[in-house]
C-alpha cells in the first residue's frame, strides 16, 4: 500500500462522530477520503467554511468556493460560511476537535516544527501556529523519514510551530504518542517490525510490552 494511504487511513480512524476537523495540505488532505460514510464529521476550511465537500464535477466549480490553496471545493448540506476572524476564533478558541497537520520534525517531547527551513524555505506559517496552539487534539501525519533521515528527532533543529506538544504522530511506519511527555511507540505499520522503526527513529522511543499492528 502507498505510504501516504497507510497514514491517511490510520488517521481517519481517530475521527469521531460530530467532530469539527481541520486538515492541513498534503497527506492530511487525503484523510477525508477514508472517513466511513456513516460517520458525520464536519471539515473546516480555514478560509471560511465548515462543511467542505469533494472537488465539484467538471464545469461546476464556483470562484467563491475554494479551499485554503485556492482550489475549487463543494459545500455539503448544512455547510456554513464565515469571515477569517470567526474561522480563527474557532481554531484558537478550542472549538476545533482535531487538526491534522504535516510535519518536518517532531521531537521526543512531541514538539512540532513544520513551517520553515531557515535560508531555504520561508513560505510563512499560515494557520499552522494557531491550529497547534488552539485545537483540542493535534495529529501530525507525515512520512517517518525523509531521504533516509528520521523526522522523529531528539530535539527539533528547525523553528518550532508551537510550545504546545502534539497529541499523536502517524507515519508510514508507526503511531507514536506522548504519554507522560515521552515519545512512545503505540503501533507499528503492517509488516514493519519494532526493530525497523527503532532503526530509523532518532528520538528515544519508549516501547511498551505490547505494541499492536496498525489496523487500517
Amino acid at each position: 500500500m502507498d505510504p501516504q494511504v497507510i497514514i491517511a487511513r490510520r488517521v481517519a480512524k481517530e475521527l469521531k462522530n460530530g467532530d469539527l476537523v481541520n486538515l492541513g495540505i498534503g497527506i492530511p488532505t487525503l484523510v477525508a477520503h477514508y472517513v466511513p460514510s456513516d460517520l458525520k464529521v464536519f471539515f473546516q476550511s480555514e478560509n471560511g467554511l465548515i462543511g467542505t465537500g469533494p472537488i465539484p464535477e467538471q464545469g461546476m466549480a464556483h470562484p467563491t468556493l475554494t479551499d485554503a490553496g485556492g482550489r475549487p471545493i463543494s459545500a455539503l448540506p448544512g455547510a456554513s460560511a464565515f469571515d477569517s476572524a470567526m474561522s480563527f476564533g474557532l481554531i484558537r478558541g478550542g472549538h476545533v476537535d482535531v487538526t491534522v497537520l504535516g510535519g518536518l520534525q517532531v521531537d521526543a517531547h512531541g514538539l512540532l516544527a513544520n513551517w520553515m527551513i531557515p535560508g531555504k524555505m520561508v513560505p510563512g506559517m499560515g494557520g499552522a501556529m494557531d491550529l497547534v496552539s488552539g485545537a483540542k487534539r493535534v495529529i501530525v501525519a507525515m512520512q517517518h523519514a525523509a531521504k533516509g533521515k528520521s523526522k522523529i528527532v531528539a530535539k527539533c533543529t528547525l523553528p518550532l510551530t508551537s510550545a504546545r506538544p502534539v497529541n499523536l504522530v502517524v507515519t508510514d511506519m508507526a503511531v507514536i504518542g506522548f504519554p507522560d511527555g515521552k515519545a512512545t511507540l503505540l503501533e507499528t505499520a503492517p509488516g514493519i517490525s519494532i526493530g525497523e522503526v527503532m532503526a530509523v527513529t532518532d528520538a528515544e522511543l519508549v516501547v511498551p510490552d505490547i505494541v499492536p499492528e496498525m489496523k487500517i
Partner: protein
C-alpha cells in the same frame, strides 16, 4: 458613500501608501482595483494581505510589477516572485500567524490597542514582543494594525454601500473594511437598496467610502 470610477479611486492612493487588500489566494480580491494600481504604477506600497497569491492573480500582480516595498502576510509560499523579492531584500516581508494577522486588523478596526494571543509563545514569533500572563497562562501582546486604504471586494453592494459576501470570498474583507482610513469597494453585483435584507448586511454602508461603478 460616493460612487466613482476605478481610475478616480486609484488616483487617490499616493505612492508609498499602506493598503489592506481582501482575499485569500486571490479569492475575494478586488482585481479591478489591483489592475488599476498596476496601470498607474503606484510604487513603494506597504501591502497588508493574507498571502501573495500567485503570479498574475490578485496581489501577485503587484509583485509582478515590483510595486511592493513592504508586506505583512501569513503565507507567501505559492508566489515564487514574492519569495525571490524577499530573499533579494527588495521587499521586507513580515510573516504573521493567520489568526494573529486577522485579530490585529480586527483590533485596529475596533479601537483596541491590540490583542493577547497564545499563538506564537515559545517560537520565533515571540521575539521582541511583550509576554503577559493572565491567570497563569502566557500570551503575546500583538498590536493593532491599520492602513491608509482598504481595498475590499464584495458579492453584493447596494446603492448606499451596504455589503454582503459570498462563501469563501468573504475571508478578510469585512474585517479590513473596519480598519482603514479610506475604504474602497468593488462588488460582483450592484443592487437596489433593500435587495440585501438588514439581517444579511455584513458590512454596514457607513463603513464604505467609495464604491467602484460598473464598466
Amino acid at each position: 458613500m460616493k460612487a466613482i470610477s476605478v481610475e478616480e479611486a486609484v488616483a487617490m492612493i499616493p505612492a508609498g501608501a499602506s493598503i489592506m487588500v481582501g482575499g485569500f489566494m486571490s479569492v475575494g480580491t478586488p482585481e479591478r482595483l489591483l489592475d488599476e494600481v498596476v496601470r498607474q504604477q503606484k510604487t513603494g506600497l506597504t501591502l497588508i494581505c493574507n498571502d501573495a497569491a500567485i503570479p498574475g492573480k490578485g496581489v501577485g500582480k503587484l509583485f509582478d510589477a515590483a510595486l511592493v516595498s513592504r508586506m505583512i502576510a501569513t503565507h507567501i509560499g505559492l508566489n515564487p516572485k514574492a519569495q525571490q523579492q524577499m530573499l533579494a531584500k527588495q521587499v521586507d516581508i513580515d510573516l504573521v500567524p493567520q489568526g494573529t494577522f486577522v485579530e490585529r486588523i480586527r483590533a485596529g478596526g475596533c479601537g483596541l490597542g491590540g490583542v493577547l494571543t497564545p499563538t506564537g509563545v515559545g517560537t520565533l514569533v515571540a521575539e521582541g514582543k511583550r509576554q503577559i500572563e493572565v491567570d497563569g497562562k502566557p500570551f503575546l501582546l500583538e498590536t493593532a494594525l491599520r492602513a491608509q486604504f482598504a481595498l475590499v471586494h464584495a458579492f453584493l453592494a447596494d446603492y448606499l454601500g451596504n455589503l454582503a459576501y459570498a462563501l469563501t470570498s468573504r475571508n478578510f474583507n469585512p474585517i479590513m473594511a473596519m480598519a482603514a482610513d479610506t475604504v474602497i469597494v468593488t462588488a460582483e453585483n450592484i443592487v437596489p437598496v433593500g435587495v440585501i435584507a438588514p439581517d444579511h448586511v455584513v458590512t454596514p454602508a457607513p463603513l464604505v467610502d467609495f464604491l467602484i461603478t460598473n464598466g
